[in-house]
Symmetry: C2
């Protein structure tokens, strides 16, 4: 990858505080943004577990006027958005606070964009169609509605180590009329402040911990191999890979290991900073999204299912990049070829997925061969495919889904 023939802009990232208990700094941070009002968008599981009570008490103590909305499904929908907009518009302006995993954060950012504007649903999302070559038709890209005023400022308190939605102003909302996940993005919705409080992640069940961890790993690998990577994102991606490899198995063995939870929460954030500063992602995400949308499977699990297959497909064009992954994983042979080390990296990734229990086939997630045509259509039309290093044909995408139907690894 050369850099002198491009323009690379490194966008300022949020002020980020990693500290146990940092979530109760929320009131200070709302005031730092010049507001005394906060609209909390909270994952319902997080709310039910009582994880927000200390945060809410600290808002009350600080005299912050607040309201809370927790009607967010996993893979949040247009219906969630409309309910949230009713609540937000009734509350009025303020800082939108995102408390939860990717679902709550994505939904909250969308509310921050749409709230001060008109309309709702998925009107602010891209809904691209395919051109005659089975690639994104840019003429169909424009969202039905564009915001005319700036989003409300946001603050993020992630409660899973996975999506890193706190590092950007974009996300996904499911269009329930088509069971399709649509992308939205607005720089103004990127959180101004991120509070990384690993205490909030300790209670996450093993299955979610594993799936979210594989999401982190996928972010890092796709950022590193994106056609739009840059040296800053490369460095952060490799660091996140190193951390996931060391700490994901540990937190599954010892769920209350607070050092491991802290490392995974920061690994997620760093992988997010990697893909959010230029590279974006690639084919693993494009192929995982339809599986979530149609079968309502967790995002991270769908990625873990597709990751080894897509890595093997990409290997011929990104062997030098995967060789760097092998370095970070500690398995690179200094005398080995890039291809040799790349294969070693892929083997470690597959083994890690087995260790953490995400080595599940599409069939195990409930798919049949009847689902594949729809998956293929949606994957090819998913915006995130644009930066994949080996742009696939329809037949190749089909072949990858077929392989993943029955085999966890290549």
């Amino acid at each position: 990858m050369t850099i002198s023939d491009r323009s690379i802009t490194l966008t300022p990232m949020p002020e980020t505080i990693l500290e146990l208990g940092s979530s109760v700094q929320l009131a200070d941070k709302v005031r730092q943004l010049g507001s005394t009002r906060a609209f909390l968008v909270v994952d319902p599981g997080v709310a039910a577990a009582g994880l927000t009570s200390a945060i809410e008490a600290s808002l009350d103590a600080a005299g912050i006027e607040w309201s809370s909305f927790s009607g967010v499904d996993p893979n949040p929908t247009d219906a969630n958005v409309d309910a949230g907009l009713d609540a937000l518009r009734a509350f009025g302006s303020g800082v939108v606070v995102l408390i939860g995993g990717g679902s709550a954060m994505d939904c909250g950012k969308y509310l921050a964009i749409a709230g001060p504007n008109e309309g709702g649903g998925v009107e602010y999302a891209f809904c691209p169609q395919l051109d005659g070559n089975d690639q994104i038709d840019f003429a169909t890209l424009m969202p039905p509605r564009l915001p005319t005023v700036d989003p409300y400022p946001t603050i993020a308190i992630p409660t899973t180590a996975g999506t890193a939605s706190e590092t950007n102003g974009g996300g996904l909302i499911t269009d329930t009329t088509a069971d399709r996940k649509l992308t939205f993005s607005h720089d103004g919705a990127r959180p101004r402040v991120v509070l990384l409080d690993a205490q909030l992640t300790v209670g996450l069940p093993a299955g979610s911990t594993a799936a979210c961890g594989m999401d982190v790993l996928t972010h890092a690998i796709e950022a590193l191999t994106s056609t739009n990577d840059n040296p800053l994102s490369d460095g952060l991606a490799l660091q996140a890979i190193r951390m996931v490899h060391t700490w994901l198995p540990r937190v599954l063995e010892e769920p209350a290991n607070i050092e491991g939870r802290s490392q995974m929460l920061l690994a997620s954030h760093l992988a997010g900073r990697a893909f959010s500063q230029g590279p974006l992602l690639g084919l693993v995400h494009a192929m995982g999204h339809p599986v979530s949308a149609v079968l309502h499977q967790p995002h991270g699990q769908t990625l873990a299912t597709m990751l080894p297959h897509v890595m093997a497909f990409n290997l011929p064009v990104v062997a030098d990049r995967y060789a760097l992954v092998a370095q970070a994983l500690g398995v690179a042979d200094p005398a080995g070829t890039a291809e040799h080390n790349a294969s070693a990296a892929l083997a470690v990734v597959s083994a890690l997925s087995s260790t953490v229990g995400t080595d599940r086939t599409l069939a195990e997630l409930g798919a049949t061969s009847d689902d594949l045509p729809r998956f293929v259509d949606q994957a090819l039309a998913d915006l995130i495919i644009l930066t994949t290093p080996r742009y696939p044909t329809r037949a190749e995408v089909r072949g990858l889904y077929e392989a993943a139907l029955d085999r966890p690894h290549t």
Copy 2:
């Protein structure tokens, strides 16, 4: 290094644009900061080479009122500051634009801090003394004068790939009454925007290119081994190490290699982001500064001279970190011990210094054993020593200087 027992704050970094010719975006960026006035602090060599004429023309074309000051020595002094303050205060308020290497950038940031306040010289710098244990006496830390109003906003256009002064609000000013480099720091002086225009670095002579490149490498290694490192800084440091290793020899072979110049400029910036987001630096810098201050030697060369000696001294306590350096350098044996791989890293660093011609002894820089007591005093009292991983005694610092007097390597 554990992270769950600490509070880690990742400070927002400047908006950074890497692009050939990006320096002429200056006028837009001044306006983006809400100003129509710019005070340029320019390295005299850069000014003499005519490198600022396109920038100045673009300011004129955009109707930006500007003035320029270029009375900046290498290792800028209190006298430079006073002359610059006269010029800045005569010009009045505006954006302070830093154009040059570390000297111009450090001087410019100091002017941005002192300009809207009173006084000058080194009054805003720390001037710590030693306690009875030959360590920094914190009771002597407070600068004689503290700013009462915020610094002028700054924009940086680095013209060397070295100090990465564009990534923070601190720097060094030489107190000419004591021939001692003193540290200053103010978050408000950190550039809001950084324009990385590798075209401006192509004409840098080989000696300066090499010395600056070794500065980048030292930043990365000291950030990685700091007692206050964090995973984000680790990832950026390892990335910068990888880039210097690949590209520094290339730009010395082919000075006009624009890809190499771009890679080195970004490597410098990434290493700066590494040390400026928590870790700071360590003993190599603490021991290099006195050599610059007393013998007026280039900063990067003094670091290159001390680096192998300090690395060998630190190795017993940071072998695991140096083993990561070995990974990034592609020489880590997956089956080797941390110590084995750490030694391999040190060998590559020494060899790189020889390749680029910075393997010079203190004697070659003009030092004699008579200088050592003064070097030792200043090194022990240099603030940057605080985060070194193996805190040295006076005798150990003396021993390292003695070794470096006659031997380029350990």
